[in-house]
């Protein structure tokens, strides 16, 4: 797997590069600003770009805008945005053109190396990775509706689905069988009135659209 990193902090850039290399992922390019990032992504065509949201030249949400430009221009390349902001707004912007091959994680998640690497792989393979804190914010906002009819366990499963986890991932996280997860998923989709039978990638979007109030 090949990665390009866009991050203006030298320390973090080197840190992320090393984490990924140690996990056997090839870092083919590193950029310190959004323009250089786009150039290197176009040149190297990596499987995934790991992008800091706040970067030069504008030092505003330049990284996010570069990510959206990449999605429009090179939809096969996954984009994982690292951010210091737990804000739905940025996620909504990022997911405007679908949830396949997209991720948004708080920066501190890189400290949990195993999970971080797992997220990078998921996004590279066309899956998604959404920060648990963002998912919690979204679920909190939908309090009181049909969400209230979910059991505690079903809520956990819903949150992990929204994060972009696969059934296998969810099963591992909750120490239950994949079969059990499938049963929970069916129950959740029934209670929320969502179309059943979607694959891992597509169901994230259905869940997020639901949580987003759609």
């Amino acid at each position: 797997m090949r990665v390009v990193i866009g991050e203006d902090s030298v320390l973090l850039r080197a840190g992320v590069a090393r984490l990924l290399q140690d996990a056997g992922i090839e870092v083919v390019g590193q950029a310190a600003d959004a323009d250089d990032l786009l150039r290197k992504v176009r040149a190297h065509r990596p499987d995934v770009a790991v992008v800091d949201i706040r970067m030069p030249p504008g030092n505003a949400d330049d990284g996010l805008r570069a990510a959206r430009a990449m999605r429009a221009e090179l939809p096969d390349i996954g984009v994982l945005v690292l951010s210091q902001y737990a804000e739905e707004h940025y996620v909504t912007e990022l997911l405007q053109d679908g949830a396949e091959g997209v991720g948004y994680l708080l920066k501190e998640r890189i400290a949990d190396v195993e999970r971080f690497v797992d997220s990078v792989r998921r996004v590279a393979e066309g899956g998604s990775a959404l920060d648990p804190e963002i998912v919690a914010l979204m679920m909190g906002r939908r309090e009181g509706g049909p969400l209230a009819s979910l059991t505690e366990r079903e809520r956990e499963v819903l949150a992990l689905m929204a994060e972009g986890r696969t059934n296998r991932g969810i099963a591992g996280e909750l120490f239950v069988s994949e079969r059990a997860v499938e049963r929970h998923v069916t129950a959740i989709f029934g209670k929320l009135g969502l179309p059943a039978g979607a694959g891992d990638h597509r169901r994230v979007l259905a869940v997020l659209a639901y949580l987003d109030g759609g």
């Binding site: 210091q84 707004h89 979204m138």
Partner: protein, 314 residues
């Protein structure tokens, strides 16, 4: 107009209005008795005598601000220019004056709102210092200790060292989270990047309140107006969460006819006023900078309404 003996010899209608006295009643009386406050009379008489005795003129042909007295004894700040003219050998003094009471009051208001802004900024700094000191800073000190302990255990008791390192990781995660919340409270980046709508929705998602929001402007407004509007909502809702004794609130925006109106309302216990907290007073000063207005209605038992209006080009 005053002659060399200090008597009034004439006044125009504007002066009649300022002093609340008719020219017919004033003529012939000593100007000092009619128009100068008692505490300043001696100085006035002394100055006139000195000038007539050939002394160097001190206030002639200059604009000075003095306090004058009306016929009813009330005082009025005026801007005064006195010129001296010769009238057949005898000097005559003409005073041109302008009532500057309004200007002084405006200046006073300006000074007050500046002071309030300063106080609000100082208070915010103090709060920030406390939050940093009690929160992240404490955690980092604790973290340094935990790491030292872990270091000491590495060889004798690796299992204990691992437990300590896990503890350190957890502390670090908490410190990061606190710093993130603190930064957002100071100024949410999403306000700059996305505007009022996303920032207000992000705020509400974090509050333990059920909030209905109407009419939030999705278009971008001048950045200082967006900030003020955001802080009005943040302060208003924080007060609801803290003091109102209710979990429901309503935020309504209206942007029309060059004005932005923001109303934050709850049906809680009421009884709030501007003197209740530094937060609202700081906001009032902030709103005043935009030539806007902030009003609080909060009858006990009937909830609180904070209403802010600021000029804002459409």
């Amino acid at each position: 107009m005053m002659d060399q003996r200090g008597s009034i010899v004439g006044m125009n209608p504007a002066a009649e209005r300022t002093f609340g006295i008719a020219e017919a009643d004033a003529r012939g009386k000593e100007m000092a008795e009619v128009m100068v406050p008692p505490t300043l009379r001696e100085a006035h008489r002394h100055g006139l005598a000195r000038l007539l005795a050939g002394g160097e003129p001190q206030i002639l042909d200059r604009r000075v601000e003095v306090t004058a007295q009306r016929a009813d004894g009330t005082l009025v700040p005026v801007e005064l220019t006195i010129t001296q003219v010769e009238n057949g050998g005898a000097p005559l003094f003409i005073g041109y004056l302008r009532d500057i009471g309004d200007r002084i009051e405006t200046e006073e208001q300006l000074r007050r709102s500046r002071t309030q802004l300063l106080r609000a900024a100082d208070e915010a700094r103090r709060r920030l210092e406390r939050d940093l000191h009690d929160g992240a800073q404490q955690r980092l000190v604790g973290l340094a200790l935990t790491l030292r302990l872990a270091r000491a255990q590495v060889e004798q008791d690796p299992a204990a060292a691992v437990a300590l390192l896990d503890e350190a990781s957890a502390d670090l995660a908490s410190a990061t989270e606190e710093l993130r919340d603190l930064a957002r409270g100071l100024h949410p980046a999403v306000l700059t990047d996305g505007g009022l709508g996303p920032a207000v929705r992000g705020l509400i998602a974090r509050l333990p309140l059920e909030v209905r929001v109407d009419g939030v402007p999705e278009e971008r407004l001048p950045i200082d107006i967006e900030s003020t509007a955001y802080y009005v909502v943040a302060e208003g809702l924080t007060n609801v969460a803290r003091y109102a004794g209710t979990q429901r609130a309503h935020v309504a925006f209206e942007h029309a006819d060059g004005r932005l109106t923001i109303v934050v309302r709850d049906h809680g216990r009421g009884g709030a006023d501007l003197d209740g907290g530094t937060g609202l007073r700081g906001l009032a000063a902030r709103v005043a900078v935009h030539d806007g207005s902030l009003a609080i209605t909060s009858p006990a038992g009937e909830g609180t309404t904070v209403r802010v209006e600021v000029p804002c080009a459409s």
